[in-house]
């Protein structure tokens, strides 16, 4: 189903203003895209991280849906518990009318998802809860001051992979979380980039309406973490897709496909842009340019080419 902005603006936004996310952080936009994609009653859980901290500083909350945070590594276990409560109450005829057909959505950053939370995520996916897990991937532990995560790309300068005389930043390639998730044989998994809001909302809607577990990995540029201007997220989200750094993928019942610009690139209808175009205006990669680390830039391009080839093949190209 297509979404029309003229209809969406009439609905209540799920997150109120007055939250303390950094100016220009797209995570609230991701929440908006996910939660506005269906009209079901929704209950959310959130891992510790920027989104949780900055939207619920007591006595203020920005959330207009029922929302729970427990800890860093357990957003998926938390959503399992809420979903179980739904069924437990329903079994006894104690589920309130306003919660009939409720949907359960977990949010977590890449640290809370790829790293410390991967066990809880894997458990929840395997158990088959009727839920959606959304990772907003800003490629680092931003809440604690920009440390590397297993989602941080090679070459990035972070506070635990600082650039130094013996270091060009992070040395390891990103973990392929999507493939890990897909290996659980869940009905729906996809990647999204918030500049392509229509793609993101369609995937969110499918993910929420799918019976059983679903997963979205949402690209989320970070203003202070990537050392980029406050108005940069949209452009960078677009470039991440155009360079195939962040392909738009959908895996429905094990069938992989590409969507949006990624599909156009795979179909030969659009150019795959060189990775430097995505990297050159980000402070976290600046040293690679000022120190002329062409070898590292080549490594990054090679890594993107490798993963793009893999995803293309998976999608039948």
């Amino acid at each position: 189903m297509a979404f029309l902005l003229k209809d969406l603006i009439k609905k209540q936004a799920p997150l109120a203003s007055g939250h303390r996310m950094c100016a220009g952080c797209p995570a609230p936009v991701i929440v908006k895209q996910v939660l506005m994609s269906t009209d079901h009653p929704k209950v959310c859980t959130n891992a510790t991280g920027c989104l949780e901290v900055a939207t619920t500083i007591f006595p203020f909350t920005s959330w207009k849906v029922p929302w729970l945070h427990i800890a860093f590594e357990n957003s998926a276990a938390a959503v399992s518990g809420v979903e179980a409560a739904y069924h437990g109450l329903a079994n006894k005829g104690e589920l309130p009318e306003d919660m009939k057909n409720a949907k359960f959505i977990a949010f977590g950053g890449d640290g809370g998802t790829y790293d410390i939370g991967i066990q809880a995520l894997s458990g929840a996916l395997e158990r088959g809860h009727n839920m959606l897990y959304v990772c907003y991937d800003n490629e680092g532990y931003m809440n604690t001051g920009i440390q590397r995560s297993s989602a941080t790309p090679i070459g990035a300068n972070t506070t635990t992979t600082p650039v130094g005389s013996q270091s060009y930043g992070k040395r390891e390639i990103r973990k392929d979380l999507l493939s890990i998730v897909v290996a659980h044989h869940i009905p729906y998994a996809a990647t999204c980039a918030p500049h392509d809001w229509m793609d993101g909302m369609k995937k969110s809607q499918k993910a929420i309406e799918t019976e059983g577990p679903a997963f979205l990995n949402y690209f989320s540029p970070c203003i202070p973490g990537w050392k980029i201007p406050a108005d940069a997220w949209r452009k960078l989200s677009e470039l991440a897709v155009k360079t195939c750094f962040w392909p738009l993928i959908e895996v429905e019942n094990g069938k992989w496909s590409l969507t949006g610009e990624s599909k156009r690139i795979a179909d030969g209808k659009a150019e795959k842009v060189p990775a430097v175009e995505f990297m050159k205006n980000q402070g976290r990669f600046k040293h690679l340019f000022t120190q002329k680390k062409d070898d590292v830039l080549a490594l990054i391009q090679a890594d993107i080419d490798r993963s793009w080839d893999f995803y293309r093949k998976m999608a039948g190209y």
């Binding site: 029922p66 729970l68 427990i70 800890a71 276990a77 399992s80 518990g81 437990g88 109450l89």
Partner: protein, 394 residues
């Protein structure tokens, strides 16, 4: 009125049976010896449709407690069970369960916390969690396990309390010993626990969107801790009220601290859980020989019944405190807290600490006999006062 019907079960099955009668909305649990039998038995109840519970077979204890917190925060009755390393893996979330004021019930089949790894009974697991904000009930035998479970729910969900409750029983010694238990009937339990009280509301049942678990900084965190502190202080009166009501309804008498042949005693042995069965046997034996000895058994360790225990102990000449856990580098837990509670009196009994039974080592009549001999010596001479022993260590 009690049911008058007995079943022969071990402590773990007793716990599972009580859980079945409570029929919680959600159970999320993970197996660990010696608790495993609780979850296996409960799984059978689920498999046979004997409960309406949604059972979540989580992938770890961390997720078990997380799912229980979430379920309770959603407005559901949630229960789990664990032991030792499993309880340790829950640690972080135990504090959060209590802070969010969620009336979760958890059975613990007390087991030594590694290492080296050991599967047998001691209290190092529960004692480590004593500052997590959970109410801790202790059970000497299977009947107490049963009654503690049923009362735990009433205590946890009381409007002045709204705190999680841990029901402890000794791993193997209780969890795997078959005894006769007289349960209430299903109807009795159902009527007794009733529906969830109106003040117990959550994400699914509030009727409006609420935020649970926000970031709580310097300007409000302290106030929330004060609420928690105050709730904990209300627990003992609530337990008393619940125990009295339980007695009235089912003719089963429980007190926060059980006194056994203590009225005219000069000396007492204080301890918790299964060892107190053996202590009582010893008391019986010595009483026949004319030794004025008794036993004191706190059933509640959190909140610590400090005034109750001090008022009971103050008139004895000599007191031995049995701890089935060490607090390395300090006083053993029950001993430490008893000492602190006694400080308010000028005249205090001679008192001595015994750490016993670590890693499931049997605390025999013979060993306890040496404790009694120590007490007999200490009561007149003061010899051994304030000393600390590892009972029976080679």
């Amino acid at each position: 009125m009690s049911s008058g019907r007995f079943i022969a079960v071990d402590g773990a099955d007793t716990a599972a049976f009580a859980m079945k009668q409570i029929d919680p909305d959600v159970v999320a649990a993970y197996p660990i010896t010696p608790q495993t039998e609780i979850v296996m038995k409960f799984s059978e109840y689920v498999a046979n449709g004997e409960v309406k519970t949604r059972y979540v077979t989580v992938e770890s204890e961390h997720s078990a407690m997380s799912a229980c917190v979430a379920a309770a925060a959603a407005g559901a009755r949630a229960m789990t069970a664990t032991a030792a390393n499993g309880l340790a893996l829950m640690w972080e979330i135990l504090y959060i369960a209590a802070s969010y004021r969620l009336p979760i019930i958890m059975g613990v089949a007390n087991r030594a916390l590694s290492g080296p790894i050991n599967i047998h009974g001691d209290h190092s697991d529960a004692m480590g969690a004593r500052d997590s904000g959970w109410v801790q009930l202790y059970s000497e035998n299977n009947q107490e396990v049963y009654d503690n479970y049923i009362m735990a729910l009433k205590i946890a969900e009381h409007k002045d309390v709204m705190l999680p409750v841990m029901v402890n029983q000794d791993g193997f010694i209780t969890s795997h010993s078959v005894e006769n238990v007289e349960p209430l009937t299903d109807e009795q339990v159902r009527d007794y626990i009733g529906k969830k009280p109106a003040h117990f509301k959550g994400l699914l049942t509030y009727g409006k969107p609420v935020t649970i678990g926000p970031l709580d900084l310097q300007d409000y965190y302290f106030e929330h801790k004060m609420q928690q502190h105050t709730a904990m202080q209300k627990v003992l009166p609530v337990i008393k009220e619940v125990q009295e009501d339980y007695f009235k309804k089912f003719n089963r008498k429980y007190e926060i601290i059980e006194k056994y042949k203590a009225d005219d005693a000069e000396m007492v042995i204080v301890g918790m859980n299964s060892v107190m069965g053996t202590v009582k046997d010893l008391v019986d034996e010595l009483r026949e020989k004319g030794v004025k000895i008794g036993a004191i058994k706190p059933r509640v360790f959190r909140p610590f019944p400090k005034n109750e225990i001090a008022d009971i102990l103050k008139n004895f000449k000599a007191v031995a405190i049995l701890d089935r856990a060490d607090s390395f580098g300090s006083f053993a837990p029950l001993y430490a807290e008893t000492l602190a509670a006694m400080y308010k009196f000028e005249k205090r009994p001679y008192i001595r600490s015994y750490i016993h039974g670590l890693g499931g080592r049997d605390t025999t009549m013979e060993l306890l006999g040496t404790v009694a001999n120590d007490l007999i010596k200490m009561k007149d001479s003061g010899e051994g006062h304030l000393s600390e022993a590892y009972l029976g260590v080679r």
